[in-house]
């Protein structure tokens, strides 16, 4: 551990502010609590919201896992792990089961998380209404009044134009029937995992200075019409080329030389575990 820095890098005042924001976020599921996002030795947009959450939560007994698009070994994940390790000396892991804190960019692990675990999302754009309204003061008022008509209209227009809802990642959902929430750019495949989960989900947007949360066993419903149900990505007939899984979120791998396409699990830890067992 680099002793030139405080434990977990942030000063204690910064941690306290983030901790207070997290408690309010858990008390008001789906509501975006503003916080004073701190400077980090990483550019905004590289997961600084998630990192600040991790740094304010982490203790010496924690075991940290960091994933980027499901992978434990991508550049973002490896460097965040190195950074947190440098200022805490906590143990890191790739095993989803043993991690107490999991920081993630754009995926929820395939293996269902348990009640003691905390999943921390890196969020680029926390505001689900930004696609229909550019002004922050207006979206804030829309949330206050639960005025989500324009978002429903956008979904309807998408149906009229394309016969389906064309939102891919960042598919909005309603939390406890009150707040519309952006689940961060996870694929639609992961949206159902937010509903009544055992674990605590925390979302941190460093650039946009917002923190929000979904406590365990919270109702999270992806937006859908009565006659047009929510639909997640479909991998029927496809399997992971490494572990053979047919029920996971698959990445498409294109072979430039042969022109062939193959599929493999996006969650590398789960894929390894399945292949080994």
């Amino acid at each position: 551990m680099n002793s030139n820095y405080n434990f977990a890098f942030l000063d204690e005042g910064s941690k306290k502010e983030i901790r207070r924001a997290v408690l309010k976020a858990v008390s008001i599921p789906g509501y975006q609590v503003p916080f004073g996002s701190r400077e980090l030795p990483i550019g905004r947009g590289w997961g600084t919201g998630g990192i600040q959450l991790t740094l304010s939560l982490i203790g010496r007994d924690d075991i940290l896992k960091v994933i980027d698009q499901g992978s434990d070994e991508s550049v973002n994940a490896v460097n965040i792990k190195k950074f947190v390790g440098l200022c805490t000396d906590v143990r890191t892991t790739t095993d989803t089961r043993e991690a107490t804190l999991i920081q993630t960019r754009h995926r929820i692990p395939e293996r269902a998380l348990t009640n003691g675990q905390i999943l921390i999302f890196q969020v680029p754009l926390p505001e689900p209404l930004r696609v229909v309204e550019a002004r922050e003061e207006v979206t804030k008022k829309m949330h206050a009044e639960k005025d989500y008509a324009s978002m429903w209209l956008q979904l309807y227009e998408s149906l009229v134009k394309y016969n389906k809802v064309t939102i891919g990642a960042e598919y909005p959902c309603m939390v406890e029937g009150r707040y519309m929430m952006n689940p961060s750019p996870i694929p639609k495949f992961d949206n159902p995992k937010l509903h009544k989960a055992e674990c605590l989900y925390l979302f941190g947007a460093g650039r946009e200075k917002k923190i929000y949360a979904i406590p365990p066993y919270t109702q999270v419903v992806s937006l859908a019409f009565d006659d047009v149900p929510f639909e997640k990505e479909n991998f029927v007939g496809k399997r992971c080329r490494l572990c053979g899984s047919a029920d996971t979120y698959l990445d498409e791998i294109f072979d430039r030389q042969t022109g062939g396409r193959a599929y493999q699990c996006s969650d590398t830890s789960h894929c390894q575990w399945t292949a080994d067992s």
Binding site: N6, F7, A8, E12, G13, K15, K16, E17, R19, R20, A21, V22, L23, K24, A25, V26, S27, I28, P29, Y31, V33, P34, L57, I58, G59, R60, N115, G116, K140, K141, H143, A144, E145, E176, R178, Y179, K196, L200, I214, P215, P216, Y217, T218, Q219
Partner: protein, 196 residues
């Protein structure tokens, strides 16, 4: 008067506050679960060490608080956290040391701030001392609870939750309750969690 800080303070502001915070977060995320912060409260001196442990974990000079006329506790919190003293109506954290006086509790619960529809986080967190026999069954439901659950609580917990309900705050406005016993047992009941 020698402050608690000088007399027997061995609470580590980095590591002990992190541990207390994680327990607090566990309690707020799982409202029916009672967690113990005794190990950390024992490192603080004075009449309300569990309150001080919570204060040292969450409070600094950016937030305000009231101890509802318990002046020694207010001075201890100021000396340990530099938080600002404020009226009950405007305080971010409200410490209720003697909830056995129901009228007093009623008065406090009526006054505390519950945020606005636009800024529901600008609401008070009410931290209530909770000593007594947990003989009253209380059925709780809401986020953090799988369906319903029944916990045994003291009469004061039931009173505080009932008083909060009587305010009829329109969600997302509301008050978050934290009950702490002198033995360091902590129970949180956020605004969306209620009886029923």
């Amino acid at each position: 008067m020698i402050s608690a800080f000088l007399r027997k303070h061995s609470f580590d502001v980095v590591f002990d506050s992190q541990q207390v915070y994680r327990l607090l977060l566990e309690a707020v995320s799982n409202p029916a679960r009672i967690v113990s912060i005794r190990e950390y409260a024992d490192k603080l001196f004075g009449g309300h060490p569990a309150f001080l442990a919570v204060a040292m974990t969450l409070m600094d000079n950016e937030v305000s608080f009231t101890t509802c006329s318990n002046q020694p506790l207010a001075e201890e919190i100021v000396s340990l956290t530099l938080a600002m003293k404020e009226t009950t109506e405007r305080a971010d954290f409200v410490f209720v040391c003697d909830p056995h006086d129901l009228n007093d509790l009623k008065n406090i619960m009526r006054k505390v701030k519950s945020g606005t529809l636009a800024d529901p986080h600008r609401s008070a967190t009410v931290i209530i001392r909770n000593d007594g026999v947990p003989a009253c069954p209380l059925k709780l439901s809401g986020p953090g609870i799988d369906g319903h659950t029944t916990v045994s609580v003291t009469q004061r917990v039931k009173d505080a939750i009932a008083l909060r309900k009587n305010r009829s705050d329109e969600y997302p406005q509301g008050i978050d309750l934290i009950f702490v016993s002198s033995g360091g047992e902590l129970l949180a009941v956020p605004r969306l969690v209620g009886d029923g």
